[in-house]
Amino acid sequence: MKRIYVKEEWCLGCRLCEYECAYANSGTHNIVLALKDKAIDPNVKVQEDGKITFAVSCRHCDEPLCVSACISGALTKEEGGAVTVDRSKCVGCGSCVMVCPYGAVRLTKEGSANKCQLCMNNAFGEPLCVSKCPNGAIVFEEK
């Protein structure tokens, strides 16, 4: 399947991906409405190790531990390989957060799980963190 991969040697640490992710999943095409004066809670997070930076989002594992731990059926491994979340089903137990080795599933302020869904379920249809990365450090490809 096509996945998001990160070339950490190319990452500038600019965090544009975080803002683009928040915009992509805001439910509006107006970037000002989406981001102005808002505390963002994106599905991709830039982390650092000394001077090295890298953008971390769901790896869409072949054997996703989050899905095997999910008691509510909110997390699903889809036929095409993507791991999706149906937040209306989530009970907020946090089992997914307890098991994800990438720390790529989180609980939002409202208390339900959220994660990268490859922009499949929003108006953009392809990962905006990838297309908007100014240095090509995030790619979406089949390996």
């Binding site: 008691i71 946090g94 957060v97 599933v105």
Partner: protein
């Protein structure tokens, strides 16, 4: 075409169906389920009682899960296994198998207590039927006594709270959640819940006199509805009577095989390889059931797969308090208080044995991964792990490969 029979209709069975179908597309799978309803998620019953999840939501993979997977569902209680003829008998009918999975799970433990037979409204809280029975009783109103302050009793209390504020929770232990927390964390939970829950701790139940509990101390608690949440026991009967090896639970090898040919077991009834101690233990966890079932299924279908590492773990939110833990609370303890949150990590040399987090659990899976993979914490600050963990705590090579797509962490 191989015939697979799976006894039990819960999470290990779901895992096994997925495992079998991944390896054998022609599989003929029969599920024999004594609970007589489609696959559902038992941990959701407290959320349904609490009215946070609709009744239909219990069928967490859809009510038509078996149909979708092409699985024949037989809603009958399995009475006996004939390992010679390779048959399962259930309510007068016989079901032949090539490969058998016993996934009968566990059931609530109800010890003999004097006077229990005279209690008019007594319930356990484990199955969907338990929940609907309790809900009907609660809708009539009255005072509730829950005996057992473990996870089941406490999650039950959260649901009961939707119906009445008049709840007493009693336990022999000195604190709530005695098995799932440390003394420090349990004390925090107790303190934060003491305004909404009337705890009776260190309280050994002596007898019932009608709808009144009498404790060893002489203390009496009158109630209208009684819930017994005293833990669960593995259901090993079917396997024991045909000579399977059973200790506290059924003994299986890494491939989830019992000592009997073509007979596998997974879920609450089996002992797992516990990673930290290296011992076989009854873990009885949801993810263990799914993963164990899946490994069993793949092996039943002719693949070679092993379930070699299992970590005790729990994540829950209880009356707004998030509690996340994994591993064993043994070794050197390092604590951190961050705002209202309490965190502790237990280490031995360069290994993480366990952790418990009250409050924020962001990226807790990284801590769990240290336990599961027996990673070394050499060069990683323990306070970083406790307060600000991210992928920088993994070896750079491994992180780069994982993000760059060479392999999964």
């Amino acid at each position: 075409m191989k015939k697979y029979v799976l006894i039990g209709g819960s999470i290990a069975t779901e895992g096994a169906i997925e495992g079998i179908l991944s390896a054998d597309a022609q599989a003929r799978i029969t599920v024999i389920c004594g609970e007589k309803r489609p696959l559902y998620s038992r941990p959701l019953i407290s959320y349904v009682l609490e009215k946070k999840t609709p009744d239909e939501g219990l069928y967490f993979r859809g009510k038509d899960y078996y149909e979708k997977k092409g699985v024949r569902a037989v809603y009958a209680m399995a009475d006996k296994i004939d390992p010679e003829k390779k048959l399962v008998c259930a309510e007068g009918k016989e079901y032949p198998y090539d490969e058998l999975l016993v996934a009968t799970g566990s059931k609530p433990f109800v010890p003999p207590i004097k006077g229990l037979e005279g209690v008019t409204e007594k319930h356990t809280f484990y199955t969907m039927d338990d929940m609907t029975g309790l809900r009907a009783a609660l809708e009539k109103g009255g005072k509730v006594l829950i005996v057992g302050a473990g996870l089941i009793g406490m999650k039950c209390a959260e649901g009961v709270k939707e119906y009445t504020d008049d709840i007493v929770i009693a336990d022999m232990a000195p604190r709530p959640l005695p098995a799932a927390t440390t003394p420090e964390a349990g004390a925090i939970v107790q303190e934060r819940l003491s305004e909404i829950i009337d705890f009776r701790l260190n309280a050994a139940l002596d007898r019932f006199e009608g709808n009144k509990a009498v404790f060893a101390s002489g203390e009496e608690v009158a109630f209208d509805v009684l819930v017994l949440a005293l833990g669960v026991r593995p259901q090993v009967g079917l396997l024991k009577e045909i000579g399977a090896e059973v200790s506290r639970g059924v003994i299986v090898n890494e491939r989830m095989q019992t000592n009997l040919p073509h007979v596998y077991a997974a879920g609450d009834l089996v002992e797992s390889y516990e990673t930290v101690s290296g011992d076989k233990r009854l873990l009885q966890l949801f993810p263990s059931a799914y993963l164990g079932g899946k490994i069993a299924g793949r092996n039943m279908a002719g693949e070679e797969a092993a379930f070699t590492t299992d970590v005790p773990m729990n994540a829950t939110k209880l009356f707004g308090i998030r509690i996340t833990s994994a591993g064993l609370f043994l070794g050197q303890k390092t604590e951190a208080i961050v705002g209202d949150d309490y965190r502790a990590i237990y280490t031995d040399g360069d290994r993480v044995n366990g952790f418990i987090l009250i409050g924020d659990s962001t990226r807790a899976g990284i801590l769990t991964d240290f336990i599961r993979k027996k990673r070394s914490i050499a060069g990683v600050e323990v306070t970083k792990l406790l307060t600000d963990r991210d992928l920088s705590v993994y070896p750079a090579e491994e992180r780069r490969a994982a993000l760059g797509g060479k392999y999964e962490i």
